[in-house]
């Protein structure tokens, strides 16, 4: 049966026209309009008593997947790209827990898991998936900007985040599509899985880069409150600290991703 699906995929690879497929995959993306975004973290330069005022940065329009990439989506990817199957992926790219819940190289845990966000994927695997679609992972700024949703319903989003943190991890992530999309048309950014960003490890180290002695980091735990635009944004702290704890080959039971693309 599953071999049947794989050969169907292969036949499809020969039969389908790439342009039609590209637009089919594109239908699941939302266009995020350009706008201003105030970064969550602000950095204190060495030899300065306090961080500079936070300047909003300009985010050009881009496209972002409406939902996290699912197990079914990722199965299609490893079917077409055998080098990303669990048994073949290089240790450079994935750790030992890569796709660990799958029953085998090309078998999902069960019938219901197709609509669950794919987890236990490394940054390399996530980025390879997105590249194969002509996309890439969103930058941290793009991801946070999409979640900020131009300020709509932010108290509710934070509350949903806090409730999610308060719950123990389930055996598996909830399926996608339970919550309505936000004002940009993007859904399930909180409550299902943590998500990779293109530059996930860029922020923990930013202050170190400006201060070679590393004594003045605004981002280490103790100094973080001084460096945040909004010290009450606990979910924001959680996201930034989780991201900065990751390594690119790392995988985890509640870490997934979605893809982004330049807006046409």
């Amino acid at each position: 049966m599953r071999r049947g699906a794989a050969s169907l995929a292969f036949a499809a690879a020969v039969a389908f026209a790439p342009a039609a497929l590209a637009s089919a995959a594109g239908e699941r993306m939302a266009r995020i309009p350009a706008g201003q975004y105030t970064p969550f973290l602000r950095l204190k330069a060495p030899n300065e008593a306090s961080p500079p005022p936070v300047n909003a940065i300009f985010i050009p329009a881009f496209r972002l997947d409406v939902e996290p990439v699912t197990d079914a989506d990722f199965l299609a990817f490893v079917t077409a790209r055998p080098e990303w199957r669990r048994s073949r992926a290089k240790a450079l790219f994935v750790d030992g827990r890569y796709l660990r819940r799958w029953r085998s190289d090309a078998e999902l845990p069960d019938a219901a898991s197709g609509d669950e966000p794919v987890v236990n994927v490394s940054w390399f695997a996530a980025q390879a998936y997105c590249r194969a679609r002509g996309a890439r992972l969103p930058t941290t700024e793009q991801w946070e900007y999409a979640l900020a949703d131009a300020g709509r319903h932010q108290a509710e989003v934070r509350l949903r985040s806090l409730n999610w943190f308060a719950q123990p991890n389930g055996e598996r992530p909830p399926v996608i599509g339970r919550e309505p999309p936000n004002g940009y048309g993007v859904a399930d950014m909180v409550g299902l899985v943590w998500e990779w960003t293109l530059d996930f490890d860029a922020y923990a180290v930013a202050a170190e880069s400006r201060d070679p002695n590393g004594k003045d980091s605004a981002l280490v735990c103790g100094g973080a409150a001084a460096g945040a635009t909004d010290a009450t944004d606990y979910p924001g702290f959680m996201r930034f600290s989780l991201r900065s704890s990751l390594k690119a080959s790392y995988t985890s039971d509640n870490l997934g991703f979605r893809c982004a693309q330049e807006a046409p």
Binding site: K90, Q127, Y203, V205
Partner: protein, 200 residues
């Protein structure tokens, strides 16, 4: 098909997506002599300070001391290069002439081969053993991920990044890393001594 409702519903969608991925596939390396964790599994090509295309794996064969930075960087990167030069000057005798030094640019826009060569001249880097390299954004991002270098563009002219000097063995595996600048390089040199002492 009833035994697997997901596949009966989802097979066509998977087929369509799989087709998309196959059609987008790049040529995959057919020969894979590298260890599973080797950096040389990255099928990358960079451009050196002479404008020549250099396959990443062409660095294989001898240990490499590698770091990432960019030439317009004011304090951090000169410090990284200074640390690499210190290592160069303190090589174990057996390693002299058998170690390569590679500086990978984080700034594809500004760091042209000409800029890289000027930077090498300004820092007195011996191009017999040193290579300065640039590539496009995707390659830079991927290599940075593999070397554990976090970075993002903080402004037009500034890229925030970590200082990481990696010791890579002859087959592309990272055997030691030092983080931060003006760090103690003795542990890295010790590892290097072991590498050059081991039978090759």
């Amino acid at each position: 098909m009833t035994s697997n409702p997901f596949l009966s519903r989802g097979a066509l969608r998977i087929a369509a997506l799989a087709a998309l991925f196959v059609l987008g596939a790049r040529a995959v390396e057919t020969t894979a002599p590298w260890p599973s964790a080797s950096l040389y599994n990255l099928g990358q090509a960079w451009t050196n300070q002479d404008g020549a295309s250099v396959a990443l794996k062409s660095l294989a064969g001898e240990p490499v001391i590698a770091a990432m930075g960019y030439t317009a960087c004011k304090d951090m990167c000169p410090a990284i290069v200074a640390d690499m030069l210190w290592i160069d000057k303190h090589l174990p005798p057996a390693a002299v002439g058998h170690v390569r030094f590679a500086f990978f640019s984080l700034d594809p826009d500004a760091d042209t081969p000409e800029r890289l060569r000027l930077y090498a001249d300004a820092h007195g880097l011996d191009l017999k053993y040193w290579t300065l390299l640039r590539a496009d954004d995707d390659e830079v991002r991927e290599l940075a991920a593999a070397l554990g270098v976090g970075y993002h563009r903080a402004s037009e002219s500034a890229i925030d990044h970590t200082a990481v000097i990696s010791l890579i063995d002859a087959r592309g595996e990272i055997v030691a890393q030092q983080r931060g600048v003006q760090a103690d390089s003795r542990a890295l040199l010790e590892k290097l001594g072991e590498l050059v002492a081991a039978p090759r």
